[in-house]
Symmetry: C2
C-alpha cells in the first residue's frame, strides 16, 4: 500500500476503526453459520436472496477453514520474494498468479503495461564528525534509499547535516544555512496515534516529508535529503517508500533513516556541527513490460457486470511483501477459490485482479482505467485489500450511504468472525481509485491495522507477520461480500 | 551482559521476578522520603543507623531527580558509540569515564589488562537456490557474525543449508548429510516466556546453540554454522553475541540469522534443497591494552573495606550499547555523584568500576581477580547492574539468606519508587563472578526485563530504549543500597 501522500484519505481511513467498532456493536446478533436457514426475513431487505445468503454462509465456512490464501501468500513471500516493479521476481509473480488463477478455472488475461524499473544499490552512511567522537571513529547511520531517488556519486558525498522539524522550519532558515548541506526532516511518526488505531492518520501526517522533502530541501540548495522513517518500528530498521521530484528543481538523493538514527542526529546537532558520509547508488533503468493479472469467473446471468476483488502484486524490495500486499492478492484469489470449490455460479462476473506497480507509479491502475473506463458503468462493485492481514472487524464501503443498510445482511453473516461492522469510507485503495472516482461502489475488509505501520515498507514485512487465522477471516470477508454483490437482486445506488 | 552459556544462572534470574513481586507486596509501607524522620525503629534491626537511613532517603531523592546518569549514558551511546573491546571507542570510553570520575572527586586508577580485538567485516548472505525461485534471483538472508567467529573466504562460500532443531537432531544425522553443508540451528527464543518476565530462562535455553553450535556442526563436517537469533526481536534484526570453538575441532564461520530468516530457511528446506552464498569477513587482531576504570570515594572509617558499584563499559558493536551496558556504568557513576553532591562520607570505601571486556572474554574481571583476590575478604559487598535500565522492583541479593532480613530497612526506603522487593539470587553479574564465588555479598537492581532481550546485542540497543525516569529509579536503588552497606554498623554474614 502506498497511500500516496494524500492526507485526506489517510485521515478518513483512520476514523474508520472507531466508527466501525460502534457499527459492529449495532449489528444484530449473527446467525450461527452452521445453521443454513438462520437468516431471518427482517435482516434481508431485498438486495440478496435467501439462497445467496445461505451460499454466503457456506463460503464463509469454506474460507475460514481453508489454507489456500496462506499457501499463496507463503509462495509469493518465501519462494518468489520481494516483487518490486520491473524485477525478475515481479515478472515471476505475474506468471505464477496467472497460472494459479488458470488452475482455478478462471479466464485469465494479462493486461500489459510498461512499468518503472528502479533498482536499489549500495546504501550506507556514517557520521564522520560529531561532538565528543573518539579519534578516527565514525557513528554508523542506518538508512535506506527512498524509491525513485537519484544516486550520490559512487564514492558518496560528505556534508554537514542539519535537522529541521518540518517544512516551515526549513523555509525559515536563510538559504546560506542550507546550501551544500544534507537536510534531515526529523518529523516523528505518531506511534501513540497508531497504537490507538489511527495509523493512517499518523502516516498521512508524516509521509509528506518522504514524498516532497527532497525537492523542498533542494529548492534551498541542499545536496541530499533524509527523512525520519515513516512508520512505527523501534528496532532500528528503516521504512522505504516512494518520493517524487518537482519539475525545475535539482534532483538530490533521498533516504529514510531509522527513528533511532534520526534521534541520534538530532541530539548530536544540538551539541555541535556534524558531518555525514552518504552513499546511495540506486539506478533508474528503462521501463519494462509487465502486467496486471486478471482472472474472471464469468457471470451466469449478467457476465458483462463485474465485481472485482483485488490486491497488488508488486511490493517494496526490502522485505518479502507479505502484508503489503501478498496478503491482499492471496485473499482475492481465495474468493475465487472457494466459489469454485463449492461449485457456485455467480450471476455477475467475479474478477480477480493482481495489480502491478501500486507502490511506485500506479501504472497497472492507469492501464486498467485506459483499457476499461468505458466499462466502468457496468463495474458493479470493486474491492481492494491493501492494509495487511489483521483481524477484520467489518467492511469499509465507499459509495452511497444507502449501501450501509443494503449490506446489513452480509454484515450479519460476517459477524460470525467478528467482522460485522459496516462503515462508509472516503477511499478504499490506490489501484481502484479511478473506479472509485467513476462512482463504482468500493469496499475492503476493515482491518486491525494497529501494527501495520510498524512493518510497512521495511525488511520485516515477512510471512511471519501474518496470523493464518486472521488471513482466513479476511478471505471470508472478501469472498462473502463479493459473492453476495455478484448475486445481488438489483443494481446498487451509485 | 553476556550471561555466558551458563544455564543455571539464567534460570535463577528468571525466577527472581515472580518471587520479587511477592516480596514487594510483603514489604512494610514505605516511609515518605521527604519525611526524614519516618524510619520507624521496628524497621531498623540494627545493621543501619537511623542517620544512615535518613541519608539514604536523601540520596534516593537526589538520584530520582538527577539527570546525571542520563547524561552519562547519552554520552557513551551517542557521542562515543559502540564500544567493542579493542576498539578506539572502547579506549575513548575508558578515558572519558576516568575523567568523569576524577571530576566527581574520586581517586581513579586504570587497571590495565590485555583484551581481545575482534573486528566485524563484511557480512551478507543470500539463498542462491531454493524451490520456486524466479530465474536469476536470490533471496536475501539477514545475519550477523557471532563474536569471535572466523571468516569465510573473502568471496564467500556457497553450500547447501540444512536446518536442525537442536543438538540431538544434528547428532542423529549421518555424517554424510552434514559434510560440506551449512547447518542452521533453528531453535527459537521463547518470546512468550520472556514476555512473562522469564527472559533469562528463555535466553539460557537458546544461547547454548550460539555458544557451542559451531563446534558441534564442525564435528560432523559442516562448513559454517547459523543460529536463529537469541532474542525476541521480530523486526528482522539479528542478535550477535559470543561463541567459542572447542579445541581440536575445525573452526568454521558462525553467524546469527534473524528469526524471520531462520523461519524462511526452515520453510524452504521443507520444500526442497536450498543453497546459500555466505560472506563473513571478521578478523581477530592481536590483543590490545585496555583497562577497568576504578574510582574510589575513600571510606572515612574503614577505607580498606570496599563496597563496589559497577557496570561494564564495553558493548557489542552493532548498537551503541545503551542498555548493555552503558546504563549500568551510568547508574554506578550516579551512586558516586549523589554521595558527593550531598557531601556524604561513607565509612567504607565506595568503589565505582567500569569493567572492560564483559562481552567477549571477561578479561577485566579476570584482571581484577588477579590483582585483588587477596583483598576479597575485605570487599564488603559488590553490585553489578547489567540487565538494562527497566523499572526496578527491588534488589537481587546473592549471599546468606539472613541478608534478606538485614536489608529490609533499605528495601522499605526503596519501596517509595516501587523497588521494595528483596530476593535471593544464584548469580548477579559476569564481571563480579569471582567475588561472588569468594563469598562477597552481591547485589543488583531487580529490573523489569520483559523487553530487554528484544534489543539485547542488536543494532537497536540505542539510547531511546532507556526511559529516563526508570534510569533514575535504578540509580536510586544502587546509590541507596551501596551507601547503606558502606555505612553498615557491622559485618555482613558471608
Amino acid at each position: 500500500m502506498r497511500w500516496g501522500e494524500r492526507l485526506f484519505c489517510a485521515l478518513v481511513v483512520s476514523v474508520v476503526s472507531v466508527v466501525a467498532a460502534v457499527a459492529a456493536m449495532a449489528q444484530p446478533p449473527a446467525p450461527e453459520a452452521s445453521t443454513t436457514s438462520a437468516v431471518s426475513p427482517s435482516a434481508t431487505p431485498g438486495l440478496f436472496s435467501e439462497e445467496t445468503l445461505r451460499d454466503c454462509q457456506r463460503l464463509q465456512q469454506a474460507a475460514l477453514t481453508s489454507d489456500y490464501a496462506w499457501r499463496q501468500v507463503a509462495h509469493l513471500s518465501n519462494n518468489i520474494g520481494p516483487r518490486l516493479t520491473g524485477s525478475a521476481q515481479a515478472a515471476k509473480a505475474v506468471e505464477y498468479v496467472s497460472g494459479e488463477l488458470k488452475a482455478l478455472g478462471c479466464e485469465v488475461q494479462l493486461e500489459k503495461t510498461m512499468v518503472p524499473h528502479w533498482v536499489r544499490g549500495d546504501e550506507h552512511a556514517e557520521l564522520t564528525q560529531f561532538p565528543g567522537q573518539a579519534e578516527n571513529t565514525t557513528q554508523k547511520i542506518v538508512l535506506t534509499a527512498l524509491g525513485g531517488s537519484v544516486a550520490t556519486r559512487p564514492e558518496g558525498i560528505t556534508a554537514e547535516v542539519i535537522s529541521v522539524r518540518n517544512f516551515d522550519e526549513l523555509k525559515s532558515l536563510p538559504r546560506e544555512k542550507v546550501v551544500g548541506k544534507i537536510v534531515l526532516f526529523d518529523h516523528s511518526f505518531d506511534k501513540q496515534m497508531a497504537a490507538q488505531g489511527h495509523g493512517g492518520q499518523a502516516y498521512g501526517e508524516a509521509v509528506v516529508y518522504r514524498g516532497a522533502g527532497a525537492s523542498a530541501a533542494a529548492r534551498q540548495g541542499a545536496v541530499a535529503c533524509l527523512v525520519k522513517s515513516v512508520g512505527g518500528a523501534d528496532y532500528r530498521i528503516p521504512h522505504t517508500g516512494a518520493m517524487h521530484y518537482d519539475a525545475g528543481v535539482p534532483k538530490i538523493p533521498a533516504a529514510a533513516v531509522t527513528a533511532e538514527d534520526a534521534e541520534l542526529i538530532a541530539a548530536l546537532t544540538r551539541e555541535g556541527p556534524i558531518k555525514m558520509h552518504l552513499v546511495l547508488t540506486p539506478q533508474t533503468l528503462p521501463d519494462v513490460e509487465s502486467a496486471n493479472v486478471i482472472g474472471d469467473i464469468k457471470g451466469s446471468e449478467r457476465p458483462d457486470e463485474i465485481v472485482i476483488v483485488s490486491g497488488h502484486l508488486d511490493s517494496w524490495d526490502l522485505g518479502t511483501g507479505a502484508i503489503d500486499d501478498g496478503a491482499g492478492v492471496a485473499v482475492a484469489m481465495q474468493a475465487a477459490q472457494v466459489i469454485q470449490q463449492l461449485h457456485l455460479k455467480p450471476k455477475r462476473t467475479l474478477r480477480v485482479i493482481a495489480w502491478i506497480n501500486e507502490e511506485n507509479g500506479s501504472r497497472g491502475s492507469k492501464q486498467y482505467e485506459h483499457d476499461h473506463s468505458a466499462e466502468f458503468p457496468k463495474h458493479f462493485a470493486v474491492d481492494e485489500t491493501d492494509s495487511g492481514a489483521g483481524h477484520p472487524i467489518g467492511i469499509n464501503i465507499k459509495g452511497k450511504p444507502e449501501l450501509e443498510k443494503l449490506l446489513a445482511p452480509v454484515a450479519a453473516i460476517l459477524e460470525h468472525s467478528g467482522a460485522g461492522g459496516l462503515t462508509l469510507a472516503e477511499h478504499i485503495g490506490e489501484d481502484i481509485r479511478p473506479m472509485e472516482e467513476a462512482g463504482v461502489p468500493a469496499f475492503s475488509p476493515m482491518q486491525d491495522s494497529r501494527f501495520y505501520f510498524n512493518y510497512h515498507h521495511t525488511a520485516a514485512d515477512t510471512l511471519d507477520k501474518i496470523v493464518p487465522r486472521e488471513l482466513q477471516e479476511n478471505a471470508a470477508v472478501v469472498a462473502v461480500a463479493a459473492y453476495a454483490l455478484a448475486n445481488a437482486e438489483r443494481s446498487l445506488p451509485r
